[in-house]
């Protein structure tokens, strides 16, 4: 067991963890932040994407001890304290960018990271950036559209709702 101290969604957390505890297990089981999901075991699906020191990271690819001293942001911290959704969250709702919701936290965290680095991505850049996030419900149409809209680009010409 090792004691780690990190910041999660702006709050300092100190816990003892086993050396083989993955960051995603730590978030889900130790902190009960169950919005971060596990959809695979090969780091392919992206349901567990969180931000570590401002970068989007699959939380199944790092150990909790590696996050010692880090700033971690999860889906639970994306909306404002009064419940106002972030621009990306609001765009996902507005454009029906989610169905079952299971991949959604990872999608939102990935999209948020993309727009931070590339505030006006092209459709191709959005699709390319989502390579590591699998959604089985939406066919990606409305996810891509939502991210384009969240970046402030006009999506009215894109077919359908």
């Amino acid at each position: 067991m090792a004691e780690i101290t990190l910041t999660v969604n702006g709050r300092s957390v100190t816990k003892s963890v086993k050396g083989n505890t993955l960051l995603v297990e730590f978030l889900r089981e130790d902190l009960r932040l169950t919005g971060t999901h596990v959809g695979c075991d090969t780091s392919q699906c992206g349901a567990c994407v969180v931000h570590v020191n401002g970068k989007d990271v699959k939380a199944c690819t790092m150990f909790a001890v590696e996050a010692d001293g880090a700033e971690v942001a999860t889906i639970e911290g994306e909306a404002a304290p009064d419940g106002t959704l972030s621009a990306v969250q609001a765009a996902f709702q507005e454009h029906h960018g989610l169905q079952c919701g299971f991949c959604t936290p990872g999608m939102v965290m990935t999209a948020t990271a993309l727009l931070r680095d590339n505030p006006k991505p092209t459709e191709a850049e959005v699709r390319d950036y989502l390579e590591g996030n699998i959604c089985r419900c939406t066919g990606y149409h409305n996810i891509v559209k939502a991210i384009m809209a969240a970046s402030g680009q006009d999506v009215t010409s894109i077919a359908a709702e």
């Binding site: 971060t36 994306e78 066919g139 077919a159």
Partner: protein, 786 residues
Amino acid sequence: MPKDHGIGASPKRREDVRFLTGAGNYTDDINVYGQTYVHFLRSDVAHGTINSVDTGAAAGMPGVVRIFTGADFEGVGGLPCGWQVTDKHGEAMKEPGHPVLAQGKVRHVGDPIAAVVAESLEEARNAAEAIEVDITELPAVVDMKSALEAGSTKVHDDLSDNLCYDWQFGSDQAAVDEAFANAAHVTTLDLRNNRLVANPMEPRVALGDYNRANDESTLYTTSQNPHVIRLLMGAFVLGLPEHKLRVVAPDVGGGFGTKIFHYAEEAFVTFASRQINRPVKWTSTRSEAFMSDAHGRDHVTTIELALDADNNFTGLRTDTHANMGAYLSTFASSVPTWLHGTLMAGNYKTPAVQVNVKAVFTNTVAVDAYRGAGRPEATFQLERLVDKAARELGVDPIALRRQNFITEFPYATPVAVEYDTGNYHATMDTLESMIDREGFAARRAESASRGKLRGLGVNCYIEACGIAPSNLVGQLGARAGLYDAATVRVNATGSISVMVGAHSHGQGHETVFPQVVAEMLGIDEGMVDIVHGDSSKIPFGMGTYGSRSLAVCGSAMVRATEKIINKAKKIAAHLLEASEADIELKDGQFSVAGTDKSVAWGDVTLAAYVPHNYPLEDIEPGLEETAFYDPANFTYPSGAYACEVEVDPETGKVTVLDFAAADDFGNVVNPMIVEGQVHGGLAQGIGQALLENCAYDENGQLLSASYMDYAMPRADDVPYYKVDHSNVTPCTHNPLGVKGCGEAGAIGSPPALVNAVLDALNAAGHDIGHIDMPLSPSRVWSAING
């Protein structure tokens, strides 16, 4: 102006906020005090005799609570199949036992041999490694046709062979033979409908929690139909009466069919929790999901079409081998028969249609319904065949389809079903307006200038949704009714809880169903909430699959709401001192016709629960009604789809440039959600046609058990889609006139894509009759290069 509320509007989904903020409550998010964890030790060979399972060393490992093997389940029931198919000789299908944990033999990679229950998952896994299993490996049965050869190894020793059933359906032999004998042209096609894995992003989870105080078991599970699980597990496996068994399916992260079925792990955690008197939780890994979730499709077919000299379709016959896997999953037997054979007429007035299906046991994971379930297989065969016929005859593929369309409804097909409505020319007209066919030659030339081959493919589809009329399916072998149920509970202040048998796992019922109830009552949608997914809260309904939620459960909800309105009018008549016949309900106000006297919805609901001034001698207090709805027929959504592709002849890589879908879903309650359903279905169909393949080697080893090996469609594999649902022929037999939209995209899209690729290649001078899905670069390149 589009409507902003009620039927036909697209309000934002009310479930979204919890999913977008991490507040969803999926099964794996649930932990129960005192919970233990189970890890299943699964077979790593496809077929073998279990000589011994020695748990001695493992039992002493740290944290181990108990280890279970097949011997612990002697006297416990096996997992049942819910549909008995009768073969062409009048005999019942062969129905082998399916124990919760393997007994005597293992029959596929992933078959569970032992289960370790421990204080932590890590301890359970570690102990499982210390279990010594002695298995004598047997030859694996993998290929379906070899499985039926005399002398083949048998998957089940107590059966005479590997044939589950040999089913024939449709027109009589003489009519079919005559059509082919007199044909001016016959087109024949051999094809495979590739084996797929549904892959909802949430892996399955089951948590059993036994309460000794009241002898009640609760199962939290990732299910599309909690009452079906309670029925199957309670009655057939564990022998628990309904009132001692509660099944909860909370937020479920996608289903696509694979979460319909009752699985061994659900029965295990419920059983084990009772044995050890502690909660037992199982969370599937994705690798485990690939070897334990029921797979889909896996048909091998020869199909033939007879045409007369004027290119009219005169006869159709099919010969299909359908893989059942090692055991019969819950609805496995119905998929290649009643959900497939009955759709073989498609959109065409072919007078003679005969379907032959041999269902085969193999040493692979069980195969059952996956989005579309039988209908994608029927559509793919037929629409590939018609396209091939058009090419052989040198006629336009759309014109050939149009010439043979069914145009008069109702239409009784030669394969038993009666289409109530449709307008196939209208959806084809719309499709043609969406795809700029006239401009295609120029686009093809532009691609050619870059060394690329451009192709355009179309297809039609018809499907049967709104599953299903109980009296009909009962005759066909279903062991359950397929009605659904809704309870509308109006509270004193006028707010409403609607308890429904349907389950929402992405479909947005919590948003859509209130649109209907609120419109019927003329009240705000925010006053209506949907309750689903908990057998202790909802009436006995059959859940969500087969695009049935709105057509069947929604109809029950309408009927229950009508009962509410009838009773509320009686109360209003009393309050207004008027005749019940004169009471009108509009915009949430009950008024006396021709007067300005009215009472509000809330006045009536309050009177129902505070019956101080109330006709107690005539009606009971309270305002709560239940309706069960059993549909009179299936519904028949239909449509026409088109795909435009570009093929790189140097590499064989196919790029999907455009996909257009014109559907007739009947009436549409929420266009936004309908379009989302089509988008998702299209991606799954594109995935099947281009990327996805569940592969076994000749020894029955599963080669595609992770996302490194099973190619899921990703955002950069698909385009923006063009979808249209403006052609509406309302269903004639349900109160909302709805048909269902959940599966169309997956049913209608694979043939269009394959037709497009073959159009690209053949227009470039190749002569390629067919390429089996998925159209991977290597397959396309090999086809090009002979």
